[in-house]
Symmetry: C2
Subunit: 480 residues, 2 copies
Amino acid sequence: MVGSVGNGLADLANGAVRVNGAGKAAALAEPLPMELEQPEAVAAAMAGEGAGKREIVMGRNVHTSCFAVKEPDADDEETGEREATMASVLALYRRSLVERTKHHLGYPYNLDFDYGALAQLQHFSINNLGDPFIESNYGVHSRQFEVGVLDWFARLWGLEKDEYWGYITNCGTEGNLHGILVGREVFPDGILYASRESHYSVFKAARMYRMECVKIDTLMSGEIDCADFQRKILQNRDKPAIINVNIGTTVKGAVDDLDLVIKTLEESGFKDRFYIHCDGALFGLMIPFVKKAPKVSFKKPIGSVSVSGHKFVGCPMPCGIQITRLEHINALSSNVEYLASRDATIMGSRNGHAPIFLWYTLNRKGYRGFQKEVQKCLRNAHYLKDRLRESGIGAMLNELSSTVVFERPKDEEFVRRWQLACEGNIAHVVVMPSVNIDKLDYFLNELVEKRATWYQDGISRPPCIAKDVGVENCLCGLHK
Amino acid sequence: MVGSVGNGLADLANGAVRVNGAGKAAALAEPLPMELEQPEAVAAAMAGEGAGKREIVMGRNVHTSCFAVKEPDADDEETGEREATMASVLALYRRSLVERTKHHLGYPYNLDFDYGALAQLQHFSINNLGDPFIESNYGVHSRQFEVGVLDWFARLWGLEKDEYWGYITNCGTEGNLHGILVGREVFPDGILYASRESHYSVFKAARMYRMECVKIDTLMSGEIDCADFQRKILQNRDKPAIINVNIGTTVKGAVDDLDLVIKTLEESGFKDRFYIHCDGALFGLMIPFVKKAPKVSFKKPIGSVSVSGHKFVGCPMPCGIQITRLEHINALSSNVEYLASRDATIMGSRNGHAPIFLWYTLNRKGYRGFQKEVQKCLRNAHYLKDRLRESGIGAMLNELSSTVVFERPKDEEFVRRWQLACEGNIAHVVVMPSVNIDKLDYFLNELVEKRATWYQDGISRPPCIAKDVGVENCLCGLHK
């Protein structure tokens, strides 16, 4: 195998790109210069994800070590070698996935699933075109599973089968894009309100949809500050309100007080002039199983709820569930004869495998299974928070959450190794079903050990995180 | 296994929904009424897709026979039975997929692929968060493969590695949504122009993005009518133009004349005040391999190209490739510390499996492999058109296309059996690599045989399709 680890920009700069083309390819409509470069050392490419290579570069096209596509040689004898190379790339890639999966703590993904029984379906191009409830002419779909899953979620959130509409989305972002779009179609001149700790897709939606958007302050916990919310809606009395309510914020896992949001709206004279979208990306599926938690339910005047499927449920690829009131969908629908289907989704073609993954897990675990897992996650999150604080590390855990926020580790290499999500001086671990006590101990021991070396000189000190999590949760030199 | 085939609305109406809950579930935070219904006869549910059940119903929530999620019984002994039932549902579902895959002609999906070597990766939650070119902290990703695939496509369309930006999307619709959004960010007051035969996602984008949108007439072939285009841009001289150019329309496979569109813009005084998005959902990947075809290339003043990955390439789930100029992306980007990544994608979380499927096929087939397949498809499409016309059935095939348009079969059951996409009096077959001569013969023989019975009474007659495909392609009583 000739070639070097592909580094696009460097190769171009060095004039080192090998071209396979014109001569051999006389039969082609137009010869395409095609690189022969292929990772010589796959392991090195994997290691290319290591420290020092990551940087946020605006407006530059940074090619990290990638696996270039290699044009097959005209000589068929090489096919065997080619297949072997691809197999070895994949085997090494798989090994890196195992390693990376083992050291994952920062993102709210349940990495613990076994969909072996569904591998047989990978041979099919399963596509749920258009509306889940209306057959299209394309027969290779999984609507039977999709609707089963949607029924389960609609019921979880208090809507009957003939009252809801929904679909399986590609991710939490699509759920937010859909919910906010429905809100805008219901109230075309509505203003979008969202707390500043809302997921960035909410603000992306405002920009995409050309909606006026007002950011609301948050409490220390990360919840929306309803006093600030009231001030701001009163300044815009004349326009309807479209509100994004967070059922678990991205960074702190804070749950906005839905009942207080509704009360604030009603007391401010908005009555029927509001639309609430609940972004339940992570917690939308956990909160129904938490005792004493406020209820997310369509029995209350909300318009839509979205939740991710690859987070608490666990799924090989991102996906989500979007549920809204059937009455809202007519505002959004347009009939498209081509598909023999109306289309009220954002994406017209939709992954038909995701609903089967979800259906499979819901059937296997059921309500009781999820409840057990939620309880385990909450217990383990408390364990992590307690042990962090025992070790002198500032940490916060919201009551309804399994997201433990703590002092950002000083060493970026450590952050990357454990795949922690960070913001300013804080980092977080989201305790998912795949995160057990053993894994937490492994992490904690490593953190405590490393931390001793980071601050051993006595000069550099752990950051103060009082402004992020409150004085009572900070254990810096000042607040200990 | 108790229960009946789940028909949600009917069950609710009959009060026949069995509830499993309150009593047993005292330990739950809140008992969720959970149905026990489960398909008794899975085959019947599969048959539930049969004729007569399909209808376009606006504003009603039509539950076709779905596989309801069944709450596991508290009694663990049932686990074995439960697993067996799920396995049998899946086995029967798989059988229906095999059958439906065999009788598929109408949608532009290549159903012929073998990704067995990638089944090992289904155990991982692979998520390419944010930008493909910038590492996020989440380590279980496939950017190495994604960037390799993007490089291949950028090169195919004439952009160097340091000149382009792109990502693997969830489908052709996301590509159009992205391309048009980039256009709008470059020209915030631009008007969107698209031929009336453009994919419906283009008009959806206009509505989502609150853009003024002008529909352009088409020629009989389905191509954009540049005379009408010129008239309409001249009426709106003061505003920049954002144009969707179709590289293969959905229904007729027509390729808009990109060079003529550019010439029209320049002659009408638009010079630098335009942005062209090329919707190459199907043909974006075929056209580079068609001799004498006009070139889609960034050497021309275009802004973005999108193509679907599940169409000509073939992929278990919908996906697509979006390529644009790097300089345009800064307009769209915003830095998001949470992901340690800027985010210029529509969906923040992205399916990490799709790039690996694409990478695998590109490597195996290469430029030459695709060229052979394109040529085979074009040959087979000609064969189909010729045989249809020999049989007295009106049909049209655009020069650069493998989409054969013909008289809509009278019987909806037949249309469904072969999964034909229809519009008004016409239907089409898209000849993909998975459609060989044997399959076409099978279809043709059945069509000719059935057709003889549809029109044997001498009273009903085949529809005239002259207004859809031109007098010269119609073989109705009047135009024979």
